[in-house]
Symmetry: C2
Subunit: 226 residues, 2 copies
């Protein structure tokens, strides 16, 4: 039974990767750099995007919002006057806990790819399954907030290993928490040696300039690699 399950999972991931490559081809054809933004629920993905995308110099950005239900985050980001498409995963059943390549593919017609340099895909809030499904992105970013505890890289290693950039958010709350940043970074280094990280506060804006610069450089990086 376990072997059957493994085979079903492998088949599902193979199918996912095939569709992810088709998404990638579409992104390349339009010259769009794509990042997949992941975190636990409430780590601050949308608030950070509100800050970072508000003034992205010389980069035409769009957002694909993934949520089980509702369009709260898409509504917030639409106020930035950028193209935002909503993808809900909650049809029928309790809801999918992640985006996969096919869901992203079905949402692409709602986005003007030809008019974008950068697409940010905001995944469903979850530290497990989103890391398992490539959607055709160039880079994966994960946000962990300092209210979640220093042990998270060790408890959710695949997520912390899967990303090229880790944002440590809510550092404005550090004076009020028993949280050891060095311990978090040591745990991060243990599961993903050398991964880039930034300390940020989406609330106060501290560190957000660095993240904005990093995002703004994605399209050029992707074109240089092509």
């Amino acid at each position: 039974m376990h072997r059957t399950r493994v085979r079903i999972v492998e088949d599902a991931l193979d199918a996912n990767n095939t569709i992810a490559r088709a998404n990638r081809d579409d992104f390349d054809r339009h010259g769009v750099g794509v990042v997949n933004l992941m975190s636990a629920p409430g780590a601050g993905k949308t608030t950070l995007l509100e800050r970072a995308l508000d003034d992205l110099p010389g980069v035409r950005v769009g957002v694909l919002e993934g949520d089980v239900a509702g369009s709260f985050d898409a509504d917030r980001l639409s106020l930035l006057h950028i193209p935002v498409a909503q993808l809900n995963t909650g049809a029928g059943f309790g809801g999918e806990c992640h985006l996969d390549a096919n869901m992203v593919r079905t949402a692409l017609p709602a986005l003007p790819l030809a008019e974008l340099d950068l697409l940010v895909i905001e995944n469903v809030g979850n530290l497990v399954c989103p890391a398992e499904f490539r959607v055709g992105e160039d880079a994966r970013i994960m946000i962990c907030s300092v209210t979640e505890g220093e042990d998270k890289p060790l408890k959710y290693p695949l997520m912390f290993r899967a990303c090229e950039l880790v944002l440590v958010n809510k550092i404005d709350l550090l004076p009020h928490l028993a949280f050891d940043v060095d311990r978090l970074l040591a745990n991060l280094e243990a599961v993903n040696p050398g991964v880039r990280h930034m300390l940020v506060s989406a609330h106060t804006g501290e560190g957000v300039d660095d993240f904005r610069d990093w995002l703004a450089a994605v399209p050029a990086r992707v074109r240089a690699a092509a």
Copy 2:
């Protein structure tokens, strides 16, 4: 294809419910009340259990710890000198994002059910899939922390609907957050009208007495209902 997926999901849930009933029978035979504790990663499940289980009057309690990887939480709770069993969901693949009835069943031999009145099952940190899989519990508790934002009941409605008790944790941080408790409670009422809630701080201990009393009453409530 969508219909096939729905059928596979329904079959999986049917199989899960069958095993959940077998777990339930075992719990009943030993007179054990069982609660399933769920939350997003880092909402404070383990810290709250450290506080609440340390002095549970007249109730013999054990814990089943669900994690993708590691035994950090089980190690912490073992210091309370209560029976703790660890269940890791991360074999091979990136890891299961929830506990199901069969995983719990495989872990039961590691727990002295005959010597327990109450079993607390700490689920994997996730606001989606844990709500979809009954494991044989009497009650489901979910913790949301005030650092996660007021919109969570609307974004993860199944989780907030699935539980009999909602703990709003980390209220010690309220003075440092732009968080509106009344708005959270209104959103909670919208998805699960009349559900019981408690405001707590696992850090300072505020409100934990009420939760401890609620937990301590579970075995008697289960026996009365049998």
